[in-house]
Amino acid sequence: MSRYKVKAIKHIKSMPPLSRATLGITRMIADENYNIADLVRLIETDITLAGRCLQSINSPLYGLKSRVETINRAVVLLGARNIAAMALQTGLSTVFKMNLEGYDSDQEDLWRNGLRTAIASRKIMIELMDDKKLADTAYATGLMHDIGKVVTAEFLREKSKQFVESAYIENEGNFLAAEDALFGINHTVIGEHIAKNWHLPESFAAVMRYHHTPSEAPEEYRSLAVSVHLGDTFSMMAGTGTYLDSMDYPVDPIVDHYIKRDAAWNTITFPKLLLDIDKEYQDALQLSGESGGSDV
């Protein structure tokens, strides 16, 4: 086993586990037909999570007329799917605000890329792939798809810039291949290990592993991997990447078998999709306490 694989395993084992509530929410989302009462109970068992969810819900941005005091009431007002997404974001926010120094990335870049990818993946699943059932899983897995970079960022930090650049050039600008060449492992394989170590649902591990190569994903998770693959691509196009590797991943040609395109794709449908993703992302950023646009 390569030196980097050993280091990766050690790093993964040292990562703090997800809270019981956060993990429970990922399982509910992956399960598709979850029970609202179970969701409310799960959030309420985690006082910090429940408190932060209520704080967000009561922010003036939601414009609710009266103060919401319970998670149950929040679910009635905003819907179970919105509350599950919010709870997941809240539960993960500290994990995702890690610095990816090795990618020359800003403190919030992993989080912003995850958030925009989540929103884009959900929209792609609904609008281009006609699968509403998988929409929430697309969102949740989109949010977490790049967690493996927490480890590769450490590896990149140790390498000289020249070394990284030459690996990148030798691999024709494909950053995933460059990571493999440099370390014998890449952020998608590491992401899959993290998902397994956290006991996340299988669909999550599959997306972390195949979000750059959905054609290699097991068939049952392939459409999910396609949605996040494109969600991530659109996110990088909008400038919400993790800097060093932004735009450096090829689009897997398999996506053309999964998405529907109409005659107005180039002039209206695709630009409108990107616009709608951006509007939703800017709103979500505001709700998560950032002003957004200025340095995206």
Partner: protein
């Protein structure tokens, strides 16, 4: 870039024109978006628009709220902003374009970057203008800035260093 320079970041759809000495106007990590830079040497004014999508017809309300978002409304709005700085003729303006990167997509299904470049050129032609320099296309992101003092435009890209446009 010197440390004491005041930095104005232009986000998605943003437009900014300045004559403030020492200021730099910057836009970060352009993917398929375009940084349209205009410099008025006589009036010593410098401006930038961060264009996201080609045509405003897909959402006229958005174009009214954030004209800089689209190439057609954005270039018009940037020109109008320069009028406030005594730039009365478009001939007084020097234009440079950067960005419009393309994802590595063999089928070119998602090539909004190229369409952004074409839409910017078209919007400039409509105003009897053309860019004197372009750094567009490719599959890499760019950070672009312009110095108010000098009107010089610089581009950086991860792994590719820094160059002047």
């Amino acid at each position: 870039m010197q440390r004491d320079q005041k930095k104005q970041i232009v986000g998605l759809g943003g437009i900014h024109v300045s004559r403030s000495p020492g200021e730099i106007i910057k836009t970060m990590a352009l993917g398929s978006c375009i940084g349209v830079v205009m410099v008025a040497p006589k009036q010593r004014a410098v401006g930038m628009a961060h264009i996201v999508l080609p045509e405003s017809k897909i959402d006229m309300d958005r174009a009214r709220e954030v004209p800089g978002y689209f190439a057609d409304s954005g270039i018009q709005a940037l020109l109008e902003e320069f009028r406030k700085f005594d730039v009365k003729s478009n001939r007084d303006l020097v234009v440079k374009l950067a960005g419009g990167a393309t994802v590595m997509d063999a089928n070119r299904t998602f090539d909004i970057g190229k369409r952004n470049v074409l839409a910017c050129r078209k919007a400039l032609w409509r105003n009897h203008m053309a860019a004197i320099a372009e750094d567009v296309g490719g599959n890499f992101s760019r950070t672009v800035w312009v110095e108010v003092n000098t009107g010089r435009v610089f581009v950086t890209s991860p792994g590719r260093g820094r160059w002047e446009l």
